[in-house]
């Protein structure tokens, strides 16, 4: 989780990712952010995030994103 927060903060230093719950709906993360995020995550956690996982519910908060990572590494 800490590593994830680090990746996120690298992307947008001015956002408090621990509390923010509407990263997508409020337009904080745009599609390009999401792609670089996915690249970083797949390197860091060795999971494959596919296009079907890219839905607001998975990316709206750091918590949700972390849950997705756990779920995916569980499946592999």
């Amino acid at each position: 989780m800490e590593k994830l927060l680090e990746i996120l903060t690298d992307l947008h230093s001015d956002v408090d990712f621990e509390t923010e719950e509407n990263l997508i709906d409020d337009g904080i993360l745009d599609s390009m952010d999401i792609i670089s995020l996915i690249t970083e995550i797949s390197e860091e956690y060795d999971v494959t995030i596919t296009a079907k996982d890219i839905i607001p519910a998975n990316f709206n908060s750091a918590k949700a994103l972390y849950a997705l990572i756990e779920r995916l590494s569980d499946e592999d």
Partner: protein
């Protein structure tokens, strides 16, 4: 049947009446019949096309669904006995089966779209290539009909196909229900491109007559007609006059063209969508919004989040993301990162995906080069601003005034001007003409035409300009009010006589000032030219 024809109004009036008279269970079948009737009136020869897309996508989705169902049943039944490895092998095998059907259906439907819409474009390009290589013989153009709304219903169907493939929605069992999803007539002509998951929530459910809901829907329809008839169709007169004669209308006129066309496009497109969504709303069906006050955007990137949302999100979800996270692209990322370093390296593949999306968006708009160039121009601007993003950020952090209203306004105006310029690609088929017209605006010597009454020779009288100004101000007011929530709710809270006066006033304005019918002098003017 155009939205602005009497036939369409009559068609909708009869439909709406029937819709609330018949048993609730028959409502969605009625819509299916109406949609096919609508399509039949547009051209009986188009029916096989939409029927083919409907059937192939429906069947493929069913096949994919049954594979998925069997897979989860099997996994559930053998949960204990199978090892993780075995499960993975089984899943991959199922996935390949699904993929086969998916790709087959996708290629078939994209093939139909490509053939009817782009065949002549390809032939034309091949011919110019042949000629430039000195060939004397050229291919002849094929005589194809472009079925009404094919770009929209094909994309809507493919979106559904991908959703079922991904397992984000369950395939529709009832072929007639599915046929309605594809053919729902209000959105057939110009979208919005619906998502099955969202539309199926209200499309098939019984709807009781709710006077507020019907009233709200019709109110929005009325507002759409106002935008279309009073503003867009009036501006059309001047815009088509200017675009039709580039040798006369350039220089200072270029600014007028860009401005007028951008307003016309907004009024026409958002007006049409208002009619579509309002009509659906009057029948209790919720369609997704397609615009979010786009001309208030502070950057082009933001603009593309707020303009033609259903199309942009389609390209994002079904093209940009899959391409970006695809294995080859991820490999490319690793490679570029190694070569160019982390910072630059990770951006290159994203830009590549973005370029693919904008190329597709361009060609989706029309089978000609000006649209492709338009798409690539959008891409270029987006990429450049992305590159400058860190600089902007520093600038914004450094100077406080960047948070002030005037600066925000400046950004909005700048974005609007950019959109105006990009829209010029829409106006002329020839890219050379677009370039000539655009650059003629700089250092032109005819700026006096903006003030010496020359604008009154474009087919619009000074009264027309007053109406246009009033109309634009009204649109602006409504957009500003929208920031405080639904304007219709705000009106609804007013006393009935005031409300009635507003509705009826808008209706009368459309009747009296709408640029419609044979009696509209300005349209007669266009007639005279031919």
């Amino acid at each position: 049947m155009l939205f602005t024809s009497y036939e369409f109004l009559g068609f909708c009036a009869v439909l709406l009446l029937l819709y609330y008279i018949i048993p609730k269970k028959a409502q969605w079948p009625l819509l299916l019949v109406a949609s096919y009737a609508f399509y039949f009136i547009a051209g009986p020869q188009f029916i096989p096309f939409i029927a083919a897309t409907t059937l192939t996508v429906y069947l493929t989705a069913r096949v994919m669904q049954s594979i998925a169902d069997k897979q989860s049943a099997f996994l559930k039944a053998h949960k204990e006995e199978l090892s993780k490895e075995e499960k993975k092998i089984f899943k991959d095998k199922q996935k390949r089966k699904k993929l086969f059907w998916f790709v087959l259906c996708l290629l078939l439907n994209l093939g139909i779209l490509a053939t009817v819409k782009y065949a002549n474009f390809f032939i034309g390009n091949i011919n110019s290539a042949l000629i430039s290589f000195g060939s004397k013989s050229v291919l002849s153009f094929v005589n194809v009909i472009v079925p009404l709304g094919i770009s929209f219903y094909t994309f809507q169907s493919i979106g559904y196909l991908i959703d079922v493939y991904r397992g984000t929605v369950t395939a529709e069992k009832n072929v007639f229900k599915y046929a309605l999803f594809v053919s729902f007539f209000p959105q057939l002509v110009q979208g919005p491109i619906g998502r099955y998951g969202q539309m199926s929530e209200t499309l098939y459910t019984p709807h009781k007559f709710d006077s507020k809901q019907v009233g709200f829907g019709l109110e929005r329809v009325l507002w759409g007609y106002f935008k279309k008839l009073v503003i867009a169709d009036r501006l059309f007169v001047a815009v088509s006059t200017m675009i039709g004669d580039p040798s006369t209308y350039n220089g200072a006129y270029s600014i007028v063209i860009m401005l007028f066309y951008t307003v016309q496009l907004y009024a026409d497109f958002t007006g049409g969508i208002d009619i579509t969504i309002g009509l659906a709303e009057a029948m209790g069906i919720r369609l997704s919004e397609n615009f979010d006050r786009p001309y208030f955007s502070k950057s082009l990137k933001e603009y593309w989040r707020r303009w033609h949302i259903s199309m942009c999100s389609w390209f994002r979800d079904y093209l940009f993301y899959p391409v970006s996270v695809s294995k080859p692209m991820q490999k490319l990322t690793k490679f570029t990162k190694k070569v160019f370093g982390n910072n630059v390296g990770k951006r290159i593949p994203v830009y590549l995906s973005t370029a693919i999306v904008w190329f597709s968006t361009g060609i989706w708009h029309g089978a000609s080069w000006n649209f492709i160039v338009w798409g690539m121009a959008n891409f270029a601007v987006l990429m450049i601003s992305e590159e400058f993003e860190p600089l902007y950020k520093k600038f914004n952090d450094r100077f406080k005034f960047t948070k002030s209203f005037p600066y925000t306004l400046f950004r909005v105006v700048r974005t609007f001007a950019l959109v105006c310029a990009l829209n010029l690609f829409d106006c002329y088929v020839s890219i050379a003409t677009t370039g000539k017209i655009f650059f003629s605006a700089f250092g032109a010597r005819n700026y006096h035409v903006l003030f010496d009454g020359s604008l009154l020779n474009l087919g619009l009288t000074s009264l027309d300009y007053i109406i246009l100004l009033g109309g634009v101000l009204l649109m602006l007011t409504v957009s500003l009010l929208q920031r405080k929530g639904s304007v219709r709710e705000q009106i609804f809270r007013l006393p009935y006589p005031v409300r009635f006066a507003l509705y009826y006033g808008l209706f009368l304005i459309i009747i009296l000032m709408g640029a419609y019918g044979i009696g509209y002098d300005a349209s007669q003017f266009i007639y005279n030219q031919f």
